[in-house]
Symmetry: C2
Subunit: 448 residues, 2 copies
């Protein structure tokens, strides 16, 4: 076997361990009883360390060198050459950070997430604080290790982990523009909305079983294959699993069906992307998702560009009305469309609209940089959050539940992730506009 | 660190991988969509190979030798010395079989189990046959490898894998006795039952949600802690998970609630045993379950000795009647007791009573030995099964669904497992009799 072929075998074994680890995460979020959290963290840490250690031996470095020499000599086709570049990237990540730190962040992130599940509904930032501090301390160590190895700034090293090549300089350029433009634009939108009067809200309660049936019907209509995936419930919606078993989650409330439904359609976008990854390169680095920006562009393509539009509603609204015995003016298509495209100075990111969503992200971007650098102590986060909301969105959260405790990301150590959401939203809008410009019958296709 | 301490570290890491693998099995049986089966088999095989390879290097043999020398010099206390003996046992197993065979049986067992999920309800032995043949071929190879390494017969090597030290000679002595005694005894029991007339069966349908609530109430009464476990549904009931997260399954039918309920109480016995394993030795070989005979003695202690008895019914019957609005003579305690202790020439092992159950096991024991040796070709299994049922139990299955396709064990490669069921039943009866003889107030305690 050639060095490259040896590497393919190695990365396949490694991917299988990562897949197993992914299932342990999914189960933790959806199925695991609370008393199992410590044991689960140990299982995940052990797999994470093994996955890391598979790349850090000297023989892997030798194989990479040999394969790269072969590639330079023209011995690899384009896919294999690209795969080799992604292998080198994985190797750089694995060798940058000691495996003790990998195990430590898994344990701390798990403990922090388990506390968050109670601290958020209990509005108890004081309880979360020491866990978040520990996660942040370890994330900072990881960022510093990577920064040293990659020769970049610590925050850039975290950004790069979610989207290869992304830097704070790039994010700043885009976000500064948005931060200039959006507040005035938001005023304009709100003024125009006010002139039209508020849309009516369909009255609940909306039975959860009916919400679930509707969600699975629409998932199926969008192409989600339940022979290769599941829909479950978790405290924070996410997409997990593997391309032949994509697992999405949502959370239901009986007061409203839109939040859960649009969440499901969003995750369905992630799921379709995972399911559509090139099967011939399954378990090779080049066959994995192309970063979180691209991933988010696919979820928002489905949710924001397709499912909140009139064409999709032509298909979906009769199903919605049937699911909840909806009747009357609140269920009128024009009204629902206005409701789904409504812009509001809201508190909660996952419920935000296209206009305000980037402002939620800009807030998190600024705060996480300050948290990472140490300029913002964790103790000051609630105040800084609320001030930022007042400044950017013009609303001040009445509590931490819908303030700085609302998202799972930082609790788990995911710092540098949020910017990909807004960059992904922009990519989604561009992709959809380009697609419709090229094939206008896409819109009638969606309605049919 | 001493050699023994190094080994404890190694076996802890190994146990964490086994725990992860256990979750992958549990998920496959309860949650996984069918389209993920091949990928899951690869994940499980990769973990199985890694778990095996952790013990097969020369440094592990050296550590074991050094630790054993220290133990002989009196350097280890009783628990550690026992742990070391179990480590050596695990090492013998790991080094006996090439890891390629370990991966192959995982793949073949998975494919066979997935087919069985459809072949059983479809009564389609022809479809199952090639899968069972392949599993059997690989099981034979494994048995041969172990037989050579351990210096014993191939079937004994499989028995030993489920219960250390168990041999066909031991099983034969017990089973020959039972096979002599039981047919005549069964006639006597059936004659006495006939004189008393048949018990009444509570009339259904029994709503599955109500069955589940009743089951979880009784699990809780028996000491099952839902902060450390779950109850789910699978095609074949089992107990999985780890001591701090014990996962039991059942299968419901609306015609009858007793089968699912008694299945749940049976698995609860397994669960209580797992949960009660010594926490100080978690993830060390000496802290693992003491073989499947002992495990089954605990499930049958709960199900057969406790839950099918009058004292438990004093507690449970009012809950059962409330769950299903049960009223009238069928819900009389004496009637239910006769129903739960009723002896019948039935077709299905998991629904069998104390008297006929060993006959189901003796059939399987004889057939699996013949399958393993090759004396019985898989193609002849349905006929041999039906003849054996007629011979031992006096009934002939009308189809393979409730004949040779009824159990998952062989489909997955579990040959040598069945004997522990009847030996466990005998141990359960002995344990309960000894406990009650020593503390007669156990019975009133159960009723209260």
């Amino acid at each position: 076997m050639t060095a490259y072929e040896d590497l393919e075998r190695l990365f396949e074994r490694r991917a299988l361990l990562s897949e197993a680890r992914g299932l342990l995460y999914w189960d933790r979020a959806t199925m695991m009883p609370a008393g199992a959290a410590e044991g689960r963290a140990e299982q995940i840490a052990a797999l994470a360390v093994l996955t890391q250690d598979m790349l850090t031996g000297p023989e892997v470095a030798d194989l990479l060198d040999a394969a790269e020499a072969a590639a330079e000599a023209g011995g690899l086709d384009d896919w294999r050459a690209a795969n080799l570049r992604e292998m080198r990237r994985d190797w750089r990540y694995a060798t940058a950070v000691p495996s003790s730190l990998v195990a430590a962040i898994e344990r701390a992130g798990s403990a922090s997430e388990m506390v968050w599940r109670e601290a958020r509904p209990g509005n108890d930032f004081a309880r979360q604080r020491p866990y978040l501090e520990e996660v942040l301390r370890l994330t900072r160590e990881i960022a510093d290790c990577r920064a040293q190895a990659f020769g970049c700034a610590p925050y850039d090293a975290l950004l790069d982990g979610y989207e290869a090549g992304l830097t704070a300089a790039t994010v700043d350029a885009v976000f500064d523009d948005l931060a200039d433009f959006l507040p005035g634009f938001l005023d304009d939108v709100l003024a125009r909305q006010a002139a039209a009067g508020p849309p009516l809200r369909p009255a609940g309660p909306f039975e959860i079983a009916a919400q679930r049936r509707l969600a699975t019907d629409l998932m199926t209509a969008l192409g989600f294959d339940f022979a290769h995936g599941r829909l479950d419930v978790s405290a924070h919606p996410f997409t997990g699993g593997v391309p032949d078993d994509v697992r999405i989650t949502t959370r239901y409330t009986t007061d409203d069906f839109t939040s859960a439904l649009m969440g499901v359609l969003h995750e369905t976008g992630h799921a379709l992307y995972e399911r559509g990854l090139p099967a011939a390169w399954r378990r090779q680095p080049v066959g994995a998702a192309g970063g979180m920006l691209l991933h988010e562009s696919q979820s928002l393509l489905i949710e924001m560009q397709v499912c909140r539009g009139g064409a999709f509603l032509a298909h979906a609204l009769p199903l919605m009305a049937a699911a909840f015995d909806g009747d009357g003016p609140a269920w009128d298509r024009g009204n629902i469309l206005r409701l789904y495209q409504r812009v509001e100075r809201g508190l909660v990111r996952v419920d935000a609209d296209e206009v305000t969503y980037p402002l939620h992200i800009i807030l998190r971007y600024r705060l996480e940089r300050a948290l990472l650098s140490g300029d913002l102590p964790v103790a000051d986060l609630p105040g800084a959050w609320n001030d930022g909301m007042a400044d950017l969105l013009g609303v001040r959260p009445p509590d931490d539940r819908d303030g700085c405790l609302q998202d799972i990301h930082w609790m788990d150590g995911a710092i540098g992730y949020f910017p990909t959401y807004t960059l992904g939203a922009m990519a989604a809008a561009q992709l959809y506009a380009a697609a419709v410009a090229q094939s206008p019958d896409i819109v009638t296709g969606i309605a049919a």
